[in-house]
Amino acid sequence: MKIRIIQTVLVAATLSFVLAPAAIAADLTDVGFIDQAAVGTLPVFVAANRQLAGIKSQLDQQYNAALRGAHNDADRQRIALQFQQEFSDKQREIVGPIFSRAQLAIASVAAQKSLSIVVDKRIVVYGGQDVTSDVVAALRGTQAISPPTATPPPASIGFVDQSVLDSLPKVQQANDEMSKFQQDQRRIDAAKMAAAKTDADRQAVLADYNKALADQRDVLLKPLVDQTQKATAQVAKAKNLILVIDRGDVIYGGTDITKDVQDAFGK
């Protein structure tokens, strides 16, 4: 009888260890992250930033001198655009190749480690693979970095570009209305604040101000936020994603569902 008991336990234990790996295998292990601040301290980035700062200072002087010759607002706008363009060109010229090399390094490391997505360190609080040192090592090398031969594997983490969603007409309109409301409300409550005599009065004014903003936010923005969330969830589900993060936190890979969300949201 004793033998039977031991057998039962052993069978169950074996069963648990046989079944478990299959489930564990489905776990998300292909998420990498980078400490972008550490990468930014590399001499190549520091030198590029210093060079850009020098160019900017020089352009600022030229810009101010050019402004003195402006006759009207149109002139000033034209001059401002011209100098912005010039700075952007310089930026592309100086930083562009370094960013391309960094992108290659990240893609190469991600391919070596079979990562489907590499994100910013700030959003990973536990686990994941820290590839910062690998990327830094690749960037420190003088040799050319070969591009990975394969595209990243399909990721279970998706992302949306919030700036694209924010630029949709109805979202933009709501944001504009909210900004205007906030400005108006600020003017009203600033006058009340100036007349407030005690700390209690000031707290009451601040509470009123915050409440007015929160109420208006509920009216103008919340319905849109809810709709976006719903659309994002629908798309994510259809694409078998687990989580969706913001485009700004993604450094490499991931599944871009911005267009699908935009379409679903527009319906």
Partner: protein, 433 residues
Amino acid sequence: MSKMRSANRAALALALVLAASGLAGCGQVDVHSPQVRGTGYFRMEDVIKHHPLYAQVAQLTDAIDTIGLVASAPQAPKTAAEIAEATAELNRSLRDAQNRTNAIIAQDQQEYAAKERAAMAAALRAAGQTQAANALAGQVGSTSTQQAAQIAAQANQNFMQYQQSVIAQNNQASASISQQLQIEADRQLRARAEQYQQSETDLSFQLSQQNASERLALKTKLSNLALDDAGRAQLESQLNALQQKQNDAELALHNRNEAALAQYRAQLRAQTGAAIAARVGDVQAQTRSQLESRRNEVGAQLRDLGPSQVEPSVSPAVRQQMQQIHQRFAAAFQTDAQKAVSDYQAVKADLDRQYAALHGADVGATGAAAQQLASLERRRDVLTKQMQTQIVAEANRIAKQQGFQVVFINVNTAVGGYDMTDELTKDIEGLHQ
């Protein structure tokens, strides 16, 4: 037989537990299920609201928002444009005073000239040139006594106006200096109060961290359902004692800070009173000096610079003497006139400096607000960082315990994974209860 059945049941139960643990990795969450896939996430902004120190962050945020709202009030701070306008007004007043002085100079020139002619006539008479002396005396007689009285009356009236305007300006300067010193004292008091509040926050945080493991251990023991009443009471008593000890330490520091703050308030009040008295005394002394100087100046002024006409028959030696008399009076007038202008410029500069000081004090007040804002934001950032670090440490502990592969924050939308927010919230609340 019964024993054997019981052993069988125990074995089966143990087997099921083992199987379940292998499948789930955790009794509460099926971390490795297809829906979760070893992935956790939480909403930091929600969890942090349940941190015991969040109330202080909320207070700091309110203070920051209040400063922002006060700053956007149109009449609250003096803008650079308002200060420039006030300075321009002062300059206008000074220009008016200058014009009045110029008018006095012009009117008194005749009197000055009369004195010069009288001196020349006396010299001519002494040289036996009576005819020429009489001719000059005739020029002197052209200035009537009535005209001289009118000029003196005008000069007095102008001086009175000048006196009133200088006193009004200096009163305004004194009031502003007093106000600015009070504002500065308030700022210093607020800064000290914040410093004390920060020390209390730090202590609270430090103690809660120090006691966290002991508290957690006691709470874990308390969560044991099989614990008898006596054991439970003992553990609860230990937990309460721990909390009481922390409360006592916090209260003691708070009381010490309150006493120190009261002492500092009294010290500031005395210092501010003395500083106001000294600065206002300086301004008043300056006002008296300005008025005295102007009074002397008006009393001493002015004479006609035009050279008196001397007849051609006068000898070259006497003519040279006449020239010397004229040069002496002209030089004296120029010195006086230059002194008058310099004094006015000095008065203007003094009052400009006072306004500049006001401007500076106001900028300082705005700067003080900016400094206070920066200090509040820094404190909020530090406190938020401390809370986030503690939350992340707890999230790590839970994630490790339950076998997660990866845990995210700042998730936009989740259709899978495990939301740790509630569990983490309870955990964070529990750490400080």
